[in-house]
Structure formats: C-alpha cells, structure tokens
Symmetry: C2
Subunit: 326 residues, 2 copies
Amino acid sequence: MKIGIVGYGNLGKGVECAVKQNEDTELVAIFTRRNTKDLKVLTEGVPVVNVSEIENWKDKIDVLILCGGSATDLPEQTPKYAKMFNVVDSFDTHARIPEHFANVDKSAKENKHTAIISVGWDPGLFSLNRMYANAILPNGKDYTFWGRGVSQGHSDAIRRIEGVADARQYTVPVEKALNSVRNGETPELSVREKHTRECYVVVKDGADKSRIEHEIVTMPNYFDEYDTTVHFISQEELDKNHKGIPHGGFVIRNGKTGWSNETKHTIEYSLKLESNPEFTSSVLVAFARAVYKLNKEGQHGCKTIFDIAPAYLSSKTPEELRKTML
Amino acid sequence: MKIGIVGYGNLGKGVECAVKQNEDTELVAIFTRRNTKDLKVLTEGVPVVNVSEIENWKDKIDVLILCGGSATDLPEQTPKYAKMFNVVDSFDTHARIPEHFANVDKSAKENKHTAIISVGWDPGLFSLNRMYANAILPNGKDYTFWGRGVSQGHSDAIRRIEGVADARQYTVPVEKALNSVRNGETPELSVREKHTRECYVVVKDGADKSRIEHEIVTMPNYFDEYDTTVHFISQEELDKNHKGIPHGGFVIRNGKTGWSNETKHTIEYSLKLESNPEFTSSVLVAFARAVYKLNKEGQHGCKTIFDIAPAYLSSKTPEELRKTML
C-alpha cells in the first residue's frame, strides 16, 4: 500500500513513523507548502515534493493522508484531493462534520475514490466507543473526560496575554467525578466538576504576574467555568518538563438492563497517550488500510469510522482474525 | 424487527428484557424444549412454542436469537436454524470458532440467510477492542483480565466435590498487575500474578472442611495455578450475598510509536457488569439489528463482530450518527 503525506507538522511526522511500523505500507512521497529544500524528513530516500505538483503523483499513490489543520486546511484540501486520490483526514470540528462529509462525498464519488474523514481518537475512537455503548445499552448516560493532557487551544490562549512568553495548559479530569461515574452512580456533573485546568506560564521580564493570573482564570469560554491553577515557571523548566504533547481521556457509559431497569452496567474506554499526534497518526494509517481495501472493492464516496467494519483495519485475513483474535 | 428467542434460561430472559428496551424490536415467539405449559415468560401475550414447531415460524421472524450453550446446543442449533432464519449466537468456545463458522456459513449462504456468531463480550466486545488496538498500535502487547466476576465453570467444579452443597467462585484481577499494565510497564505476568480466585462454599452437615478446602486449592486446571481463598458460609448467606451473576474485565494494550519506538501509549477497555447474561443479551440484540440490515442488503452467510460496520448496530441513520455521535 503506497502512502503519500500532505503536510509535515507533528501529525505528518507521526504518519511517517507509523508507516515505518506497518509492514504492508510504504511511504512514497511527502507533500509540503514549504520550500522543499528546507524540509528534513526521517525516511531515507523519500521524495519531498511541493504540493503544487501533487497531480503528477495521481497514479503512484494508493492512499493520501492529509495532515493539515481542521480550521482552514482540511475543508479545502480533502474535497480537492479526493478528486485525485483516495484520502483520509482527521477533521475534528464536530459541528462542521456534516458539511465536510457532503463536500468530500461528492468529490470522491464523482472520481471513484474512497475517503474517510474525522479519523483519530476524538472524533474517532471515542465516537466509536460512544456509538457501540449506546447501541448495546440504549437506556443509559454517556460521559467523556479528557486528559490529563495538553490543550493546544488553551495554551495558545494564554500565550496571547500581554507579558506571557510561553505557556502550556493541561486539562485534568476530576478523580472524584470519574470515580462516581465508574461506580455507576450516573451523576449530573457541571463543567467545573468534570475537569480542572493547570497552567504553566513563562513571563517576560518585569511582567505583572498577578494581572496575568487574573486574566487567565477569568478568561471567558477558556477558563472562567473551571477551577484553574497557574504556575509561573522559567523557560528552562517549561522546556525540560513540558515539551511533550501527551493526552488521553475516558469515554464511559452507565447503562441499565433488566425487566424493570434494575441492573447496572458500566462500559469504559480510555486512552493514555504520551504523544497525541503520534497516536492520531497511527489511527490514520490503520484507516488508510481500510480506504485501500474499500476502494479495491469498488466502494466509493465518503465514509466515517462508523461505516468501516473493524476487519478492514487489520493486515490479517478474516480467517486469521477469527482464529487468533476472536 | 421481529425477534424470536430459542432457549429461555438466563440468556433468553436477558434477550426478552433487551427487546423491551429497543423500540425498533418486537418479540414474536419464545421457543423452548421444555413443556410450554410450565414456562412463565415476562412479556404479556408472547407465544411460548415448542421448538419442534419452529419451522412454521419461518416467515414470521426477522432474526432468531439463539440462547443455548456453547458445549452442545449451539454447534448443532446455529447451522440448523441458519437454514430457516437469520440468526445470532454467542458461541464462546474460542478454539472451535473456525469450525463453527464454516458450518454456519454453509447453511446461511445456501439459504440466503445472514448469521453472526460469537457475539457477546468475550468473545465479542473484548475481541473487537483487541483487534482495533492491534491494528492501531502494531508494536505492542495485549493483556486481558477478567473479573471481579462469577465463573460458572469454577463454581460447578467446586459443587462436584464430595460434601459440598453449594458454591460460588469469583475470579478477581490482581490490582498490582493491572496497575503495572495501566502504567505502560509491559510486564511479563504468570497466571498466578494476573488473577486470584475467591470461593464461597456451603458444606453438607458433617463434611470435612479442611479436606474440601485442600481439594479446591489443588484442583488441576481450575485452581492449582492460582492463589485461591476459600470461605465457608451458610446457604442463607450465599443466597443473600452471592445470588447475582456479575462479571466484567479489562482489555489493555501497551503500544509504542515514534521513529525509534520511544513513545508509549495505553488503550484500555473495561466492563463492570451486574449481570453477565443480561449484558450479553443486550449485545446480542444490537447485533440482531445488524443481521437484519445486512440481510436486507443481500449480504448472506456467516459473519463475526469483525465484519460488522459499527453503524449497523444502531437504530440511528448514518446522518444522525455523524451529527450526534461523531
């Protein structure tokens, strides 16, 4: 299976590493908007190509993995490249998924390509587990907790405050709430009761720390509804202890069965990830395998994680899966 | 969707309850080998029919859910009824799955029916999570822990000891091992390190407790490789505190990503079930929905949980799923 990567940020690099781990995949080109001379990639011998030349690669790539951002890159790129290639993306703007799906579906169908959008862990594996749990326990309640992990959006929001040199924000699930859900207590939880926010902030020389702290904890939408703690640290400490991009979370469903709903069950799915982009990339590559198989079968158009039979993700045959995994 | 149930034990009763919870399903008949007059069922007005008359119901049932045992019932029943109906079963003898699959596939294909076998949580949801986690993190290690829950097989084994009146055995995962796996330590674990066994035993008058305890803890295959504790209790206490059939467990994969496998991730799926049969029944009914949809599409033959796209389990449309669940 010949893979192409569009965009060489953290996600693109993660895909490159995941391709190396999967014996049935081969990286054939990395496409970038940057000056190709400046880009150092990890895989020896793989061409780095300016994205303007991508059309020349139409018949040399089985699946193109799109590693751009959801805000502006993917809404434009995925429908565009679905005309030329089978594609996978990690579009994660939940509210705009129906619109993105329709655009990609049209491009892919008209050109007999196969696309899967919104692949990753949320949306993605978390969605999948919510869906399975809802189908199995129709009478129940869902909970999603995120973290402990770095929120890029919240870190960026802190960095925009005057006097801030650098910042890292961790979203942290509240243990007490998590345990209540795990124990099947089906609690009603406010925003504040579910997560806390931990901020590590480096200030510029002479900046007013108490003003900065006040601006953070009262920031609407980002922090005002949470219990937020602010730690002022040096750039050295931030670089040493907060360089990683860990994340994770928990999807839990409390459900009831029995003739009078007298029996309780809890289904829990959780991820603990040392690198959010590397894990997301690994999910993308598994779904690229599904795209490849579906396209060979003549199943064209846009799909989501809900439409993909699990066996399509595996390099094992159905017989092997039944024998070794069931 | 018109549902029929074959076999009215704990599993059959669970299916009856699950059908009540799902608005798109309707119970049309319960088939039994017992005297139909003796069988009291929960659903008002649903006919109880001797299984010898099942062929008369061929055109009145969309999916037949087989609630017999895996040792002798299902190997015979599933291929037989797949000739007349679309079927789902919870066949759980892992080693015999390929053979059972082949038999059911033949019957179903020849008669244009659709079947899904080995539906439940292990095999079933646990298998599914192992498969997804392996496809996403090819470089890693799997762990399955069962419990805390009742093992019927181990309880039965104790009951066969001379002098034992009743018994209940709980399989208990070892917290230390579980935490080591959760922390991504990828430990090598012996059988003894993963689970302990707790036995609650009622003895007959005058029975030798120390002999019984010795026979339990040294029993080959069942107990000798485990740390086993035996509690002698009264029948009243057993009936009061140990009547339920709870179960559950944990499927965890530790995996590594990155150019030099330097990044660790942990994927965990767990179930905490107050009633093993009621939960298994709920899984069966969700997959009955998939059988029904697949058969309408003309997809005949035998499938497993690996072959079923998640959306088939849901009563929601693909559009609704994308909008509300992704």
